[in-house]
């Protein structure tokens, strides 16, 4: 097998693993987990009828999405209305392409051993790629709100655009600290730096907090789910969506949630690495994948936990928090990190 063929097959296998196996199992199970965690927090069982521990609930839910009538209201902007769910779903999914999910995997075929880095595309502008796509994701929400010919949707869309733009700034400043310290925009570089030195959460705790809060806002989860705001805007941007199109918004939210958790684990908690452990060989690589998944799931649980604990912010309070607190904080944090790096 030539090197080129091998690279092609390896990339194909990684894509298959990340999107088909990992995402297709995590995404449905996350919906199940969210409802079980909610049940646990709220002193009730949660779904427990369909299959063991209600595990197949998602199959019932998914079928429901397909079976529902897809209603398109009158006077909608058809093109944008149909496009919006796709735009929301895609960025959450493509983010995984640049996140390293494990150590290098040695593969021996026909006596030749080749090293396969466990990241689909180790691009040298990793973080820019991620910010570009999450910035794009907001278009889905804004366009959904605009095109649906509904005042509540419009308000949801407006809120989302203001919110995500505000928090993206703070998020970018916070993340810049990590890349300044590592000296590279490549995410695998950041993981390697953390492996050699220390997890970023320790020296850059402030940056971590800002990034975490901004991640909540970016994923539109409580306490920042103002664009949706069930109790105020009756669903907001997706008020007029039904059936599978709503299902795509739904999946988009969870895909973004997984992406944000994976990113938090990568940037601040060492990604697939553990301090003092060298992941070598086939089993080491597999163990590193498990470590990465464990960290991601830990953050996912945090997201679920917060959602079921806090009330929602008000629109102006959200803006105050973003511009008057998080942005200056992340800015000074960045300056401090830069000064420290320069001094070294």
């Amino acid at each position: 097998m030539s090197d080129a063929t091998f690279a092609l097959v390896a990339t194909g296998a990684k894509i298959l693993f990340v999107w088909v196996i990992a995402l297709a199992t995590i995404l449905p199970n996350l919906v199940w987990a969210e409802r079980r965690v909610a049940g646990m927090i709220q002193d009730r069982p949660g779904p427990n009828r369909v299959g063991p521990f209600g595990f197949f609930q998602i199959i019932a839910d998914g079928t429901k999405f397909f079976m529902k009538e897809s209603v398109t209201p009158l006077y909608v902007d058809k093109l944008l209305y149909n496009l919006a769910p796709w735009i929301t779903l895609m960025p959450g999914l493509v983010t995984f392409a640049v996140i390293p999910f494990g150590a290098t995997l040695p593969v021996t075929i026909g006596g030749v051993t080749r090293e396969v880095p466990l990241v689909i595309a180790d691009v040298n502008i990793g973080i820019l790629y991620i910010f570009a796509f999450t910035g794009l994701g907001i278009y889905g929400i804004v366009l959904a709100g605009w095109s649906a010919n509904n005042k509540y949707s419009l308000m949801g869309g407006l809120r989302a655009s203001a919110q995500i733009i505000s928090y993206e700034l703070a998020m970018g400043f916070a993340a810049a600290g990590v890349f300044l310290a590592a000296g590279t925009l490549r995410l695998s570089g950041v993981v390697e730096w953390q492996q050699q030195h220390v997890w970023n959460v320790v020296p850059q705790f402030v940056g971590f907090l800002v990034f975490l809060i901004a991640a909540f806002a970016e994923t539109n989860r409580l306490p920042f789910d103002l664009a949706e705001a069930e109790e105020e805007l009756a669903g907001g941007f997706h008020a007029e969506y039904s059936s599978f199109k709503f299902g795509m918004f739904f999946m988009g939210e969870y895909a973004n949630l997984i992406a944000a958790s994976a990113l938090l684990a990568t940037l601040y908690f060492g990604g697939w690495s553990l301090p003092g452990v060298a992941f070598t060989g086939v089993w080491g690589a597999l163990a590193s994948v498990a470590v990465f998944f464990a960290k991601t799931i830990g953050f996912i649980f945090l997201f679920l936990w917060v959602r079921w604990t806090f009330p929602r912010f008000r629109y102006d309070q959200l803006m105050d928090l973003g511009w008057k607190f998080l942005l200056p904080l992340s800015f000074f944090h960045l300056i401090a990190v830069a000064a420290f790096v320069a001094a070294k």
Binding site: A38, I41, Q42, D43, R44, L74, Y75, N149, K151, Y152, L154, M155, L222, P223, D225, L226, A229, E230, E231, E232, L233, A234, R307, W308, T309, F310, P311, R312, F313, R314, Y315, D316, Q317
Partner: protein
């Protein structure tokens, strides 16, 4: 977006006043089908961005002509109709009605029946207040208190079911007393409920009272000071949160309330947060009253639950007004009798209806997100608003 669809229900007069920033405000229909209007309340909002310029409640979607219906029923037949007004607190509705008839009839209710009535009232208050807490918190996006409070509400509803067979529309009082005596062992079950209740209320408070987001969302929202409260005729927790210790149970005492010890919690800032604190404090006070009723009932066993009431109830011609402190405020019945076996006119003073009238004033200038907090803080039940 500006095109109106022909064939919609009501036409409203054109927007008044000078245009804002060269544009008119957006008119937003809030309800009647909306998750946070607590029923079929419709608000016609004019909003400038997210800020509310004016809010006009449009009520009547649940109007069933109850007051007219009263006139076609004999006096004992009215009781179940009162259940359907404030359907989450039907015991106090029954109570207010039987009080006014008893007043005109001049019937004396046995002490035991009075204690049981008070016991039922206070349990009803607890169930109504926890329901309020659940929905008001839910409106602000705090989902979990809903499930905590429903845990306790479920126990109360089960106890009601064991006593009178119904969970919501209790129909649990009769003119001159009560329909049935207590089930054996019922009092012990009530006591078993009250024991952990104090701790359960602490649990709700843990989630909300010192929560920064909860405080940000409620402090200074929907302020209506004492003077304006009185001018609007507000009663109940809304008035008490403004600092006025007005409670019908103390102001115009009925039944055995003068013999019972309890405090009237008052707030001082007259905002949504204080109303929350007042209601939570009332949960604890209601528990105190329930415990005192239990003590008395356990010490004084008996079977006397009904006074001497004629077989056919025909109050003498005349007028009477009686009120109770319902969970939402002063619930009064004004009865005009003509000497027949049916009320000539029976007018209701519903606290939800009167408290709702101040909503435009409380909501003005706030954001749309606050509107749901303001609707929640008044604690309305549309069955009572519309009757």
């Amino acid at each position: 977006m500006s095109e109106s669809t022909p064939g919609t229900a009501a036409q409203f007069p054109p927007l008044e006043g000078p245009p804002l920033l060269g544009l008119h405000e957006m008119e937003l229909n809030f309800g009647p089908q909306h998750p946070s209007t607590h029923g079929v309340l419709r608000l016609v909002l004019k909003v400038d961005g997210e800020r509310i310029v004016s809010a006009r409640p449009d009520i009547g979607y649940l109007h069933r002509g109850t007051e007219k219906l009263f006139e076609t029923e004999t006096f004992p037949m009215v009781v179940p109709h009162t259940d359907r007004m404030d359907y989450v607190a039907s015991a106090t509705n029954n109570h207010a009605y039987v009080l006014v008839v008893e007043k005109l009839l001049g019937v004396e209710v046995p002490k035991r029946a009075q204690y049981i009535r008070v016991l039922l009232d206070e349990m009803q208050r607890i169930s109504s207040h926890v329901l309020w807490l659940a929905t008001a918190a839910l409106d602000l996006g705090a989902i979990t208190p809903f499930f905590y409070t429903f845990r306790e509400r479920e126990v109360i509803l089960d106890l009601f079911e064991e006593y009178c067979g119904a969970r919501l529309t209790l129909n649990c009082m009769r003119i001159g007393g009560l329909p049935v005596d207590l089930t054996p062992g019922w009092l012990e079950k009530v006591r078993a409920f009250t024991e952990p209740f104090e701790k359960n209320v602490d649990e709700y408070e843990e989630l909300l009272t010192e929560n920064r987001i909860w405080k940000q969302r409620t402090i200074g929202i929907g302020v209506l000071d004492e003077k304006r409260c009185i001018e609007w005729g507000m009663t109940g927790p809304v008035l008490r949160a403004a600092g006025k210790a007005w409670d019908i149970r103390r102001a115009i005492p009925y039944e055995v309330y003068p013999e019972l010890e309890f405090d009237i919690p008052v707030g001082k800032n007259a905002d949504t947060y204080d109303r929350y604190l007042v209601r939570v404090a009332e949960l604890r006070q209601s528990r105190r009253i329930v415990l005192q009723c239990l003590d008395w009932l356990e010490k004084n066993p008996g079977t006397e639950i009904r006074g001497k009431v004629p077989r056919v109830i025909k109050p003498p011609a005349g007028e009477a007004y009686a009120a109770v402190e319902a969970p939402k405020g002063e619930l009064g019945f004004h009865l005009v009798a003509s000497g027949g076996n049916k009320p000539y006119r029976l007018h209701v003073r519903p606290p939800s209806f009167i408290n709702l009238q101040a909503l435009p004033e409380m909501a003005q200038g706030h954001l749309v997100g606050d509107l749901v907090a303001v609707i929640g803080t008044i604690d309305i039940v549309l069955g009572e608003v519309d009757r």
